[in-house]
């Protein structure tokens, strides 16, 4: 009697648990289905930021953030072109995600705690580690930010950049003279004209701003990174399968780089006997199927978009106008901190 009742109670609890969790799961896993039914992925991007998300004169989008969207589309449709891009300004970007106007936001957005909690969203990965840095004239012959004491620094006012600048110089017992400007362009112009010795902004910005100077090659960007600006794609909370799809699309590109798999040698990789390569390309295991995709999900990404190094070089690295060194965005095994959990 006692046994039966406890079994009954256990069963009732199990059913309760099931009735609570199963519907949530079904309701939550709707993004992939909605995307498939629609036949395309809707991706929130910037209004135009070279290297990250930028349309050409024919309206074709490219960039590191755009490649993330193309990777997700490739994994789902085996067609990286099935993406509808929605340009968003800084103010609207998170609301567009909340309202369901976009499936994923891939728009050089910094991952912070309050953004996740206030807007009910989850950042899926960090596809670009940015941070504040310094640009100086080559002729100054300095190779460390710690040697900038006594400098005149041009900075945009009312930004975290200005606050970080103050913190950094104070923490390192250096004096400096601050020249503030209401917008980035004026600050850059003042630096170019010689008003300042130093120009400070996020490092990715410094590389694109340098292209605007009268003689870009006379300026260097120091290696020092003095703040954390982790940029990455975000999704709406509540659909864990969708979060995994976006997250693992980025990780697939990183793992491919680490294993030496590229868009050019992907057919060779399919014949590999190395266990880690086999798991990546789906000749062993069913990892893609476990997140609602196919066995060859990563092959589709690598073939059409490339691995992380290919995407980085093409958009912001050595193969692009920006020419940003890998720095923090190197693989963890090659001098940086880009690190993907293994596929296994």
């Amino acid at each position: 009697m006692l046994k039966t009742s406890s079994l009954l109670t256990g069963g009732a609890i199990a059913m309760l648990v099931a009735s609570v969790f199963v519907p949530v799961d079904v309701a939550g896993a709707q993004t992939l289905k909605a995307v498939k039914d629609r036949g395309s992925l809707t991706c929130g991007v910037s209004m135009g930021l070279p290297g990250f998300s930028n349309p050409d004169d024919k309206g074709v989008w490219s960039g590191l953030d755009v490649d993330l969207c193309r990777a997700v589309a490739a994994a789902i449709f085996d067609d990286a072109g099935k993406v509808k891009y929605v340009p968003l300004n800084a103010e609207d970007r998170f609301k567009a995600l909340q309202s369901g106007k976009i499936d994923v936001l891939s728009r050089n957005s910094t991952w912070t705690m309050s953004r996740e909690s206030e807007f009910n969203l989850s950042f899926a990965a960090i596809n670009y580690y940015d941070g504040q840095g310094f640009m100086i004239r080559k002729s100054a012959k300095k190779d460390s930010a710690l040697a900038l004491g006594g400098s005149k620094v041009c900075v945009q006012s009312g930004t975290t950049t200005q606050l970080n600048l103050a913190d950094y110089f104070r923490a390192n017992n250096m004096t400096y003279q601050e020249m503030t400007f209401s917008d980035a362009d004026s600050a850059l112009k003042a630096y170019d004209s010689g008003t300042c010795d130093v120009f400070t902004s996020d490092i990715s910005q410094l590389y694109s701003e340098r292209l605007k100077l009268s003689s870009p090659n006379d300026h260097v960007i120091l290696a020092d990174v003095i703040s954390k600006e982790p940029l990455g794609p975000a999704v709406k909370q509540g659909d864990s399968q969708w979060l995994e799809i976006v997250k693992w699309s980025h990780f697939a590109m990183l793992n491919a780089e680490e294993l030496g798999v590229t868009s050019k040698n992907i057919d060779e990789a399919l014949k590999s006997q190395k266990p880690a390569v086999k798991r990546l390309v789906g000749t062993e295991g069913a990892y893609g199927e476990q997140i609602g995709l196919t066995k060859d999900w990563a092959v589709r990404i690598i073939r059409q978009v490339g691995n992380y190094a290919e995407s980085y070089d093409r958009n912001v690295g050595t193969g692009s106008k920006l020419g940003i060194p890998r720095g923090l965005n190197h693989l963890w095994s090659e001098g940086g901190i880009q690190y993907a959990p293994p596929i296994r």
Partner: protein, 202 residues
């Protein structure tokens, strides 16, 4: 730790498969290089600037290798000299063409300014018009400086062809423009650890 162990292991592999066969038949004291693109006698225009990414620069680089170590990333065409404090001096290099790339750990065993060039017999066979000996100087394919790696035929050396930086054309040597190789030469002593990394194969 794992990285270090792997490197040690790789250096053993290297000794077994790369270094020994390559060293056979070559006198270790001669200055040789087998680059097929060599143009002996060409005096480089040293005022020509490299593309920005291949210009010498200090970059962020985290590693467990101690300051003073040279790390070559073959697939990137960069040579890093570790500085400590999370940074390295990065130089653009030309690397071995396909089939002539290698990886492992070696040490700089000898340094030479304006090295002489003695093309090896294999190369003379392919390109009989080449000189048998060429004294060091501005038209020499080995450029202004050479740093010898272990007992192998591989070197880090200068070049009289700055336009080959960033390309995979050599027979396993790392070539740099003369200004860069002179800079590096002045920073590293004999005994410097040189780690060469390649894209993994499958």
């Amino acid at each position: 730790m794992t990285v270090f162990r792997r490197l040690t292991w790789m250096s053993l592999l290297l000794a077994a498969f790369v270094v020994l066969p390559a060293a056979q038949g070559f006198s270790q004291q001669e200055d040789m290089d087998m680059d097929v693109v060599d143009q002996p006698g060409l005096v480089p225009d040293e005022s020509v600037q490299l593309p920005p990414q291949f210009q010498r620069q200090v970059v962020l680089y985290r590693t467990n290798e101690p300051p003073g170590t040279i790390i070559v990333h073959t697939s990137e065409r960069f040579l890093y000299l570790v500085q400590g404090n999370g940074r390295a001096i990065r130089y653009g290099v030309r690397v071995g063409r396909e089939g002539f790339q290698w990886q492992g750990l070696l040490k700089i065993t000898r340094k030479k300014e304006w090295p002489d060039w003695v093309p090896p017999p294999e190369m003379i066979k392919r390109q009989p018009y080449l000189p048998r000996f060429m004294a060091g100087g501005p038209g020499n394919p080995l450029g202004a400086r050479a740093m010898y790696l272990g007992t192998t035929v591989y070197r880090i050396h200068g070049t009289n062809q700055p336009d080959t930086i960033g390309k995979a054309v050599s027979s396993g040597c790392f070539g740099m423009v003369n200004a860069d190789v002179i800079d590096l030469y002045g920073r590293v002593p004999v005994g410097t650890k040189v780690v060469v990394r390649q894209r993994p194969s499958f």
